[in-house]
């Protein structure tokens, strides 16, 4: 009861709740405490709901790093990363005369290093450990086709102006996380990287080593004739600096850019059944309407929601001439048994309205300029003649925020293939009055983008699909995805770590026991076709996430494209990340 239905999370890789708490741990009538650290909490939160874990016999979830009161009559499940901080906290729980919990069941998200393992074995806690397993899930299945490694500091770690002495260790950890992703998906892909930045090759190499180690423990990875075609691509953020800063007009990208959505929770004021209050809604794949709407253009969203709401009302014989927001609260009072559905419609109507309100302010003009700069041509296809003329009014406009101006300036710079020159850059910064944030622009050079002298971005595939005027830009990664699938991706620009293995002609039956714990799906839905997995160093943008779905759909299900990164960007967060690149590490992080 209360469990989540629908296609929540990773189509193939998301561990179901029961995968975390294997068989022996759940005992009828015996409740347990679940202890998590930050990373495991994030992973769990993206896979399961509270009612899921309650169904597994967990009655409370605690943060291992917070002060906890003993609950000595209950056993504890520790779902933690095998790192010093968490392991020491675990040991501390059983250090004193009085144990914090009755017993411990330990599940590490990844392989526990020998040193820490021995520490545990030698401590008092070892006497009360009933379970000790490594589950190899060190990534967040953010969406069905999007994963995250939950490290928002990654851009800094890779590209900061100060040398990072922990970089080797960091790359190893990253590689291990990516390997657990492939392990969970039962993939053993051919690894490629974008030639250029040294880190791409380094990471790719490290991933290969980790992947091979995982395969030794789990030989079923990559089994199946089609799987030999699977590929993993490592690419750096600097390869497409346009997509993360462009104003997008598709629902998800627009909402996250323009509104204040933290931890995927959208808050808005509404009158429900009770009095007017704040409603918090989680935007995730349990919301079927969100899944339907998130990649749609905003112009279509309101239309669609209104249409669906009208159909719904008609089917329930709720008479309403104008199914709008005000009527919804009336409907809710009359038919509270449809609270779930009505709330869902209300949420998305509000969300769409909020986006449009912010957009109509000043953004419509801005978007036009942005698209022209990004495409190098106007909506009619005529090449841009005097870009400077179109951006100056924007830069001089006091009502436009600093970050919006910076986005325009950057697009202008990228538009200029021969670079902008120091003098011109200084002039632009002055016109826009953004001196305080100007390091955002210069810091882009850390990503390999040549601001002053210019650079050519890759040649684009021709696109014939019709688009809205303000949505002509397609992320460069979309071209890469399509090329990779069509086996047209240039081997010199995207070298393989090792030559792709010959196609295995002996087909082995795939055991449904491993890795494929679809949340609400049967084992027969195991994906047998090839996968293209893309890892972006430094953050992935919403538009790039959308591309993964679009490209997948275009293959008619033959391929599945997954994309992910250390974290998911919004234009603001990306600019903030860039801003920090030349600064001293913040101890608060």
């Amino acid at each position: 009861a209360g469990g989540s239905a629908g296609c929540s999370s990773f189509s193939a890789g998301c561990p179901s709740p029961s995968a975390f708490f294997v068989l022996s741990v759940k005992k009828d009538g015996e409740w347990k405490v679940l202890i998590v650290d930050h990373m495991s909490m994030r992973i769990l939160s993206s896979c399961c709901k509270m009612s899921d874990i309650l169904a597994e016999g967990v009655t409370i979830v605690e943060d291992i790093n917070k002060r906890r009161e003993p609950i000595s009559s209950l056993e504890a499940i520790y779902l933690i990363s095998p790192v010093e901080k968490s392991v020491h906290a675990l040991i501390n729980d059983f250090k004193d005369a009085a144990f914090t919990y009755k017993a411990a069941h330990i599940f590490f998200t990844d392989t526990c290093p020998d040193g820490l393992f021995t520490e545990i074995g030698r401590a008092r806690v070892a006497k009360v450990i009933k379970t000790l397993k490594e589950i190899n899930v060190a990534f967040l299945p953010y969406e069905a086709q999007v994963f995250s490694l939950d490290d928002p500091n990654s851009l800094y770690s890779f590209y900061s102006s100060k040398p990072n002495k922990d970089k080797d260790k960091m790359i190893e950890n990253l590689a291990e996380q990516i390997a657990t992703l492939c392990d969970t998906l039962k993939e053993y892909p051919a690894i490629r990287y974008r030639k250029g930045p040294e880190d791409n090759a380094r990471l790719a190499d490290e991933v290969y080593q980790r992947l091979t180690a995982h395969k030794a423990d789990n030989p079923s990875m990559g089994e199946g004739a089609d799987k030999a075609r699977s590929q993993l691509l490592i690419v750096d953020r600097g390869f497409d600096p346009i997509s993360p800063i462009l104003h997008e007009l598709t629902f998800q990208a627009m909402a996250y850019d323009l509104l204040d959505i933290k931890q995927d929770i959208y808050t808005y004021q509404t009158t429900g059944i009770g009095n007017s209050n704040d409603r918090e809604v989680l935007l995730d794949e349990d919301d079927e309407l969100w899944v339907q709407l998130r990649h749609m253009h905003i112009a279509d969203v309101t239309k669609k929601v209104t249409e669906l709401l009208r159909t719904f009302c008609e089917s329930k014989r709720m008479c309403t001439d104008n199914a709008n927001l005000k009527d919804l609260s009336q409907m809710l009072k009359k038919m509270p048994q449809y609270q779930k559905e009505l709330s869902m419609y209300s949420t998305h109507l509000h969300l769409a309205e909020a986006c449009m309100k912010t957009f109509k302010g000043s953004l419509d003009k801005l978007c036009e300029v942005e698209q022209d700069l990004a495409m190098g041509a106007n909506a009619e296809g005529e090449p841009l003649k005097d870009a400077m003329k179109s951006i100056v009014p924007v830069l001089l406009n006091n009502e436009i925020g600093a970050y919006e101006k910076i986005r325009i300036i950057l697009l202008y710079i990228f538009h200029k293939k021969r670079g902008i020159g120091e003098e011109n850059l200084a002039k632009l910064i002055q016109h826009a009055n953004i001196q305080a944030d100007s390091n955002i622009i210069t810091n882009l050079q850390n990503l390999g983008c040549n601001i002053i002298a210019g650079q050519t971005l890759p040649e684009r595939r021709e696109r014939t699909e019709s688009t809205y005027q303000l949505s002509r830009w397609a992320p460069i990664i979309k071209d890469v995805m399509e090329n990779a699938i069509e086996d047209k991706l240039d081997r010199k620009q995207w070298p393989f770590i090792c030559d792709p293995a010959p196609i295995n002609t002996t087909q082995t039956a795939v055991s449904a026991r491993f890795g494929h714990w679809h949340k609400n799906k049967s084992p027969t839905e195991y994906r047998s076709g090839p996968r293209l997995i893309i890892f972006v160093i430094g953050g992935v943008s919403q538009s790039e996430m959308r591309s993964a779905y679009e490209v997948t759909r275009a293959t008619d299900g033959k391929w599945e494209v997954l994309i992910g990164s250390s974290h998911i960007l919004t234009p603001t967060s990306f600019l903030n990340d860039l801003k920090s690149l030349d600064q001293v590490p913040n101890p608060d992080c």
Binding site: V61, R67, T118, I135, Q263, I273, Q337
Partner: protein, 289 residues
């Protein structure tokens, strides 16, 4: 998934010989008894939660029973067997049980509030009560939705049968018109044209179905207040209640800030002698906490 319990036991037995092992003055048993006595409220909360859970399960069982009763009514004109309850009786049972569960949830909420007032919101029993309460409220709502869906399906099935029977007597009715007729109760409109055995049978069937729909709608009407109360309950809790991250992070912020500050001191400025002093003090402070 790799099981490393055996490996752990190996490490344990290997280290038993070494002198570097922590000397265990207390056996595990002693440690268990040294711990504070179990909180009686905790046991009570978990017991009550389990009882409520069983009640909700019972409602679900009754919904299944209702499905059968509805189905039987649909396919026979005659009354169901003496030992089986009819739809109305089950409907009443569901309503009463639902109302009782709601009451118990209110009481659980009150208990939780009292625990919070007395012990603070970081008390584990209080938080366990909170978790159970939220989950059970959700479960109650789900089961009420299930009841509504079951009745609505039956209504639809009845409507379709009425439509078919009317076709049998040569009267084709569109959806909209049928709805209007059903709502106004004027299905006997064609009774005057009824002639012959087939037509008579069709007429009787239709009359039966119409009666069922009316009873069904009465049941729904009667339980409307319960629907409303449950909706208010879940609305009060907020939409993000199922979110694990929120649940973990909601624990008392004040203490968290203190711990974070200590962490900062420990990790980031080990070289500062002033802070070293602070670390030692705060570690002792931690122990006292």
């Amino acid at each position: 998934m790799r099981d490393r319990l055996r490996h752990l036991h190996q490490v344990q037995s290997d280290s038993e010989g070494l002198s570097s092992v922590e000397h265990d003055h207390l056996s595990v048993h002693e440690a268990a008894t040294a711990s504070s006595p179990p909180d009686p409220y905790l046991y009570g909360v978990l017991q009550e939660a389990q009882q409520i859970r069983l009640e909700i399960q019972q409602i679900q069982n009754e919904i299944s029973e209702l499905k059968d009763a509805n189905y039987q009514a649909l396919n026979k004109i005659s009354h169901p067997a003496e030992t089986e309850r009819d739809s109305n009786a089950i409907g009443v049972a569901i309503k009463h049980r639902g109302e009782a569960v709601l009451q118990r949830l209110h009481m659980m909420s009150a208990l939780r509030a009292e625990l919070e007032a007395r012990r603070g919101s970081s008390d584990p029993t209080e938080r366990i009560a909170q978790t159970q309460y939220q989950c059970l409220s959700n479960a109650l709502r789900e089961v009420m939705i299930s009841y509504n869906d079951t009745e609505m399906s039956h209504r639809e099935a009845c409507k379709q049968q009425i439509q078919r029977q009317m076709e049998v007597v040569g009267r084709e009715v569109g959806e909209e018109d049928l709805e209007e007729m059903m709502e106004s109760g004027e299905l006997n409109v064609f009774s005057t044209q009824v002639e012959g055995k087939t037509a008579r049978s069709a007429f009787l069937q239709t009359e039966s179905r119409q009666k069922e729909v009316l009873e069904l709608e009465k049941r729904i009407e009667g339980i409307q207040e319960l629907f409303l109360d449950v909706a208010v309950l879940t609305e009060e809790q907020g939409g993000a209640v199922e979110n694990i991250q929120k649940s973990v992070q909601n624990t008392e912020v004040i203490i968290q800030d203190a711990v974070v500050q200590l962490d900062r001191a420990t990790t980031f400025d080990k070289s500062n002698p002033f802070k070293k002093l602070f670390c030692c003090c705060s570690f002792d402070h931690c122990k006292i906490l």
